[in-house]
């Protein structure tokens, strides 16, 4: 042990340069001779250096820490942080709270909906709507079929006396208007008055785009009617106006009443009104009157099957059609002017006045 210490001391003195010249020479000789001693010198040198460096490192770290303590890190941090937008920051800082709040809100909303029965109601509404759409679809399909089958139906009704529609007088001397689709493809057309008398007529003018046809009673037994009890209202009628019509869906006159529900007809057709009235096919061609008894349109029977929505061609188109009749097809002048005598009357009285001017239109073909 002490020998070891001696050697270590010698090495230390050698390394620190504390030896005299002769000692030094001797020691270097020893190192050269003894590899063991040489290795010890190197090892000692390395190790003591390491201790020294360690000490220096500690000291340096202390110095750096001292400097670091003088820096206001907190302020710097605030300055140097790249601040994300406020919404991101808000989310980062409060996301748990926001999540909880959102959950509660959703839960509350669902509870409210559930307890107010809104959810089930909605289901029902939805169902109804689907039903309505389905009905509209079937309605439309029916219409399509109806339109497509019109010629076929005409052939089916070869049986004389099958009524096909309604018409009404546009003048007292035997001119009658009806729907073009009623008399379409007809061989002969008869009209039957309310009193049961039947007259032969001739189609003198048709306007298929507006579904208007003008008939003239050619039967010699026809006696001119009295002055028309209604006038043709040229101006558009407002929505909500109470309207009615009479016609011959069967052998007797049938009244249809409702309201004017739209100023345009099927698929936005501006030549027509839409009315809410449950009408039958036989109403086609009948007069549409407002509550005061003015004619405001011609019932356009081909769409009356659509869910209480019927359509009527506006009077202005009728008047236009009358004007457009070629002069040479007229035997007598058409005088559409009448006097409205129904304005103050009750509905039954109005109908009484009206019924002799409304005709059942019978159509015959092969």
């Amino acid at each position: 042990m002490s020998e070891n210490n001696q050697l270590t001391e010698t090495i230390e003195r050698y390394l620190n340069g504390e030896m005299t010249k002769t000692e030094r020479a001797q020691f270097e000789e020893l190192r050269a001779r003894d590899a063991d001693v040489n290795a010890k010198v190197a090892e000692h040198k390395h190790f003591t250096n390491l201790i020294k460096q360690y000490g220096e490192r500690l000291e340096l770290e202390q110095r750096l820490n001292a400097i670091h303590d003088e820096i206001d890190v907190h302020t710097l941090e605030d300055e140097l942080m790249i601040h994300p937008s406020w919404i991101v920051r808000m989310w980062r800082n409060h996301h748990s709270k926001i999540s909880v709040a959102a959950s509660i809100a959703i839960f509350a909303a669902l509870c409210t909906l559930f307890f107010t029965g809104y959810l089930s109601n909605k289901q029902a509404n939805y169902g109804r709507l689907v039903g309505e759409i389905d009905k509209l679809k079937t309605g439309q399909n029916k219409l399509q079929v109806t339109v497509n089958n019109l010629p076929l139906q005409h052939q089916a009704i070869t049986n004389p006396g099958n009524f096909r529609g309604t018409g009404f007088a546009i003048s007292s001397n035997g001119y009658i208007v009806t729907d073009n689709h009623v008399i379409h493809n007809a061989d002969s057309v008869y009209v039957q008055a309310a009193d049961g008398k039947s007259y032969r007529t001739k189609v003198i003018y048709t306007e298929p785009q507006n579904d208007i046809a003008i008939l003239e009673i050619t039967d010699p037994s026809f006696k001119p009617l009295g002055a028309l009890p209604y006038i043709f209202k040229k101006a558009e009628t407002d929505l909500g106006e109470g309207v009615f019509t009479i016609g011959y869906p069967k052998d007797n006159i049938v009244l249809g009443t409702g309201f004017l529900t739209s100023s345009t007809g099927y698929k936005g057709d501006t030549t027509q009104y839409q009315i809410s009235a449950l009408l039958d096919y036989g109403h086609s061609g009948g007069p549409l009157l407002d509550s005061k008894g003015n004619i405001i349109g011609i019932v356009n029977g081909k769409q009356t099957r659509v869910e209480g929505a019927a359509f009527a061609v506006k009077t202005s188109y009728l008047l236009k059609a009358i004007k457009d009749i070629p002069a040479d097809s007229l035997n007598k002048p058409i005088n559409t002017s009448g006097k409205n005598v129904m304005a103050g009357l009750t509905r039954p009285q109005q109908i009484k006045k009206l019924e002799s001017y409304v005709f059942m239109v019978r159509v015959y073909n092969q």
């Binding site: 210490n5 390491l50 201790i51 360690y54 770290e61 890190v73 140097l80």
Partner: protein, 189 residues
């Protein structure tokens, strides 16, 4: 992007000379000058101010040692060099902590500086070992060793401090302590 303190940023050659001359003033100015840059790097890449302090000091020590040992050649701006070392160190730290998302927000241009940090790492391990060994050594050995080998005190002074009757006793004690320290140091894995 970088926020520098305009007053007192030492020039690069000033820093080298200052370190060689152990200038406290230059070290301080150096430290203050570039710390914000590293703080910015770290706190905007998943770190906090303490992480920034750690890696910045590590980088300064790397620089310091390189300059002291004389093998430092300034091939780029000192600022770039420090930034590069810190960036490298921080990436490594992030990877160790499994916080590295494969993407780092940069604020300066940088160089690749792999080997330098590796070397520093080895030395750190040795220093750690030494620190542990000294702790295990206990008193009075620790103080004797520190006084003699680190603080360059003479045996005479140590003798007086510890109340040894003569310098020989103190010397014997010192050698015993050194033996034990070596043992403790090399025992560590």
């Amino acid at each position: 992007m970088s926020k520098e303190l305009n007053s007192g940023v030492p020039t690069d050659s000033e820093v080298i000379l200052g370190i060689l001359n152990n200038s406290e003033n230059v070290l301080k100015r150096l430290y203050i000058a570039y710390f914000p840059m590293i703080l910015q790097l770290v706190i905007n890449n998943n770190g906090n101010a303490d992480d920034a302090k750690d890696i910045y000091q590590e980088a300064i020590i790397v620089l310091y040692n390189k300059v002291k040992t004389g093998d430092f050649e300034l091939s780029s701006k000192l600022k770039t060099y420090i930034y590069s070392i810190c960036r490298r160190l921080w990436l490594k730290r992030l990877t160790q902590m499994n916080r590295y998302g494969g993407d780092i927000k940069d604020f300066q241009e940088y160089l690749s500086v792999d080997d330098e940090t590796e070397k520093n790492n080895e030395r750190d391990i040795q220093f750690n070992k030494m620190g542990n060994a000294l702790q295990l050594l206990g008193e009075p050995c620790k103080t004797i060793i520190e006084d003699f080998y680190i603080n360059n005190r003479s045996m005479q002074e140590i003798c007086e401090n510890f109340g040894y009757t003569n310098a020989d006793n103190a010397k014997t004690q010192k050698y015993k302590c050194l033996q034990r320290l070596k043992k403790l140091f090399f025992q560590q894995k």
